[in-house]
């Protein structure tokens, strides 16, 4: 059984096809792996019965030769995707009792492809956080903690998604990425994660954090598996006005091409931030060395507005969040602190229902949108966002992809980062691509001096996930990353 949980999606598909094991056996193996790792606190809601039932249906399709792309593949869902009939909390007290009667487009696509739901994994509350510590249900623990015998953060906000895949307790997980929430946890947990181009995956049914930035994407062990998941998750959705009416190419075909001749890789000099550790610099140099070996041209490029990305993000994202979260008011669903007066109902419900980080961002967002401050903050941030987009547009005239580290450090200890500003610094490399809506991916590329995973980030042109995946699979091939499972 332990053999099963160390496999990839493509390998399991092969095994199911050859009848080496059944969908039920595969699912059982991952359920056991989850149950063995209870202390890592992966799940807000574990849906074991549902998983077994779905596995049965999958197996019957496999038996009748009508199997679909993901039949027999157990996956975990970030607790930000609405799942019909299953608790969907956004890791918040305010939605602690919320059971949707509808299914998000992305998860529906996955179930339609035969995937099996193991449960809803933890994340930062409303996806606001980079450590999983803002979850009302307690943080998920990074499976790599055992390497240094300390409780490590899995990163965030999709920390549960990255951790559950890293531990071999799910073959894949859905994540969402607003400023790095797929890529940073993937890097911290030694797995692969891609945030596709904004508009590639429908946002319908995903609890909104910052609408102009939120994108769903997969977290998997390998690049191939990410490509396969993305094939299923992507697609135009008329229910989301910001969804792109574009065909989904077969992303799997972009992987596994180890000839990078004529490919131009940009190395942005502004990402060499002061105080960056030598292990990160070394990893980055090793990374572009690998690409050069495969025939790529390495070109230094400049993205001059990079240093403004983080402050810009921390104006725009909270602004949108402050409005998006106004609907959680105790009137219609979710947690309610009953009061005789409406204003008291709002105040008490929201005071009890939201955690500190969410409140902090609602306050920041309310402030930057308020009369008298709008021009100085929100409008200025939108202008800078445009400049950042222009930076990328200019650079992408000369190069096909950009290579950077995913994070400025390896996973940190739970509780070690108390200052919100230093916590926000985790997103320094991931936020620019989010602001520009570009596809970006983190691939596990090496280990830190104390043996923890480090990731490299590949940023691509709009709707050019294919070159991102192509480069990622080259790094993967050369890094020979020592996965935990």
């Amino acid at each position: 059984m332990s053999e099963i949980v160390s496999k990839t999606i493509l390998q399991i598909k092969e095994g199911l096809k050859k009848r080496e094991y059944s969908a039920l056996e595969v699912t059982d193996a991952f359920i056991s792996a989850s149950e063995c790792n209870k202390k890592l606190n992966f799940y807000n809601t574990f849906t074991k019965e549902k998983a077994l039932e779905m596995a049965k249906t999958s197996q019957s399709r496999i038996d009748s030769g009508e199997d679909k792309i993901l039949d027999g593949i157990p996956i975990a869902i970030k607790d930000l995707f609405c799942t019909e009939g299953t608790l969907t909390t956004a890791s918040s007290k305010i939605l602690g009792n919320f059971i949707p009667n509808y299914e998000s487009t992305v998860t529906q696509n996955l179930w339609d492809a035969g995937a099996i739901m193991l449960g809803k994994v933890g994340c930062d509350e409303f996806a606001m956080g980079s450590s999983n510590e803002t979850s009302f249900f307690g943080e998920v623990i990074n499976p790599w903690s055992k390497v240094i015998n300390k409780n490590l953060s899995p990163g965030g906000s999709s920390g549960g998604s990255a951790a559950v895949v890293s531990a071999g307790a799910a073959l894949a997980a859905t994540g969402t990425d607003t400023g790095g929430s797929i890529r940073q946890p993937a890097a911290f947990c030694g797995v692969t994660g891609i945030k596709p181009t904004y508009g590639r995956c429908s946002r319908w049914g995903i609890i909104a954090f910052a609408s102009s930035l939120d994108q769903a994407g997969p977290i998997t062990k390998t690049v191939n598996d990410s490509a396969l998941m993305l094939n299923v998750m992507s697609g135009f959705d008329p229910k989301d006005s910001t969804s792109a009416n574009k065909n989904t190419p077969d992303f799997l075909k972009a992987c596994g091409n180890f000839n990078l001749k004529n490919l131009k890789v940009g190395i942005p000099k502004e990402y060499q931030i002061s105080g960056m550790s030598s292990e990160i610099i070394n990893l980055w140099e090793t990374g572009y060395g690998w690409l050069k070996d495969r025939g790529a041209d390495i070109i230094e490029v400049s993205l001059p507005h990079t240093k403004y990305a983080l402050p810009t993000y921390y104006v725009i994202a909270p602004a949108e969040a402050s409005s998006n979260l106004a609907r959680y008011d105790g009137v219609k669903y979710g947690y309610r602190n009953s009061q005789n007066h409406l204003d008291d109902l709002y105040a008490n419900t929201r005071a009890d229902g939201f955690g500190n980080e969410v409140k902090r961002r609602i306050l920041i967002g309310t402030y930057v949108l308020s009369a008298g401050y709008y021009d100085a903050y929100y409008r200025k941030a939108q202008r800078v966002r445009n400049l950042i987009i222009q930076d990328f547009n200019k650079v992408f005239k000369d190069v096909d992809v950009i290579l950077t580290p995913t994070t400025p450090s390896a996973a940190f200890e739970v509780g070690s980062q108390q200052d919100p500003i230093s916590m926000y610094m985790n997103d320094v490399f991931t936020v620019p691509a989010s602001l520009a809506g570009l596809p970006a991916m983190s691939v596990p590329s090496g280990l830190s001096t104390n043996g923890l995973p480090l990731g490299l980030q590949i940023i691509g042109k709009q709707f050019d996930e294919e070159n991102v995946l192509k480069v990622a699979s080259n790094i993967e091939d050369q890094a020979k990353f020592p996965f935990l499972n």
């Binding site: 319908w204 229910k239 989301d240 006005s241 910001t242 402050s322 609907r327 005789n340």
Partner: protein, 484 residues
Amino acid sequence: MEKFLIHGEKDDYEIVVGLEVHAQVNSQSKLFSGSSTNFGSKPNENVSLVDAAMPGMLPVINEFCIKQAIKSGLGLNAKINKFSVFDRKNYFYADLPQGYQISQYSDPIVGEGTVEINFPDGATKKIGIERIHLEQDAGKSLHDQHPSKSYIDLNRSGVALMEIVSKPDISSPEEAGAYIKKIRSILRYLGTCDGNMEQGSLRCDVNVSVKKDGDPLGIRCEIKNLNSVRFVMQAITTEANRQVEEIENGNEIIQETRLFDAVKSETRPMRSKENAHDYRYFPDPDLIPLVLTDEYINNIKISLPSLPDQIRKNLVDNYGVSEYDASVISEEKEISDYFFLASKGRDGKLVSNWLTTELFGSLNKNNLKIEDSPISPEQLGELVDFISDGTISGRIAKDVFAEMFETKKNPSKVIDETGLKQISSSDDLIPMIERVISNNLDKVDEYKNGKEQLFGFFVGQVMKESSGKANPKLVNQLLKEKLN
């Protein structure tokens, strides 16, 4: 027109009024969801996941509502903005499920326009339109269903509204009334709003300020949510009088939102922190800006129906209808449709007389709308034909009309059945005239001796003899021959 002035104790004051008309877009489904907009459904029957602001739900623009707004803009001679943006207006209220209203703030779909208003004496005035923007309606809070709880009905939540903002060009309650009537009339012709004020499809906010002649604009107060033309006019008068009184008592006018109490005939401040409200407008990131092409706008333009101003002109120029009747007939599409059917191939002036006096009178008396008229336009036309060709007299026609209204019968049938046909043959009339003369020989003598006013008496007697059916013209002629 004479300038409207409020006469204070010390001075005369002009009033300056701007109107915001909230017109519900005539559409099957809501602005951003597929739910029905049907009026009168059971509470919360027309509520989708989007309308209830369930987590993860997203708005998708209803293109039909966009077309309706463009149509309305074109009908009000306004500029259609090819680039417009939907913004979020953030505030908390129990019947506002999202915690924000999707509206248009800095880039509305329709820009400046003008509308011409008409007065009973035939005078006109141009009122400027500042803008029209699209927005969502909120739900409804019901506070009278339970002793301690409030109930929320979200049927209206998300229904599309057009907010039509006028320039402060209105300077009397009458002008405000005429303006609303005109806007309502145009929207109804366009089919973009049903204009039903009782059902709340058309509501008004009015901004009122007063000033002395030559002074700069005064501080304005906004009176919200007026749902009839009469209330709008009363509210303006009441509020303007209040402001004059305040000023003359040495008090300053505070810019605020007020409510009009029709029963007490007063306005009073809304109990709210209105001034503290900061709506934190920003572009809705769930929606992309609306970009329209010239072709798209032109296709709507060429499909526009005739509008009241054109129709009024047509009635005066080509149908001989009086200026006043023309403005009455053109105000409602249903009435002008009726008129054009009834007057086909006939004397327009005569038809308009019968329409605006007899038919309107009977409809009003019976509280009926023209759509429910028991007399069809064709029937009214036939009645006019019988008058024109002398089959019945105008007086008899009134009886025929009354019978038609009562029984819905064709005029020919009524005339046949009741024998109301006019007696227009000398052979039939001469014996009656002779009878009247022989019965009143004394009066004949008096007449012949110069008491000429007795002629009317003889006409009356003949009419009586004929039960009113005698052709009065012929009676006159024959009587004159006999008596002289």
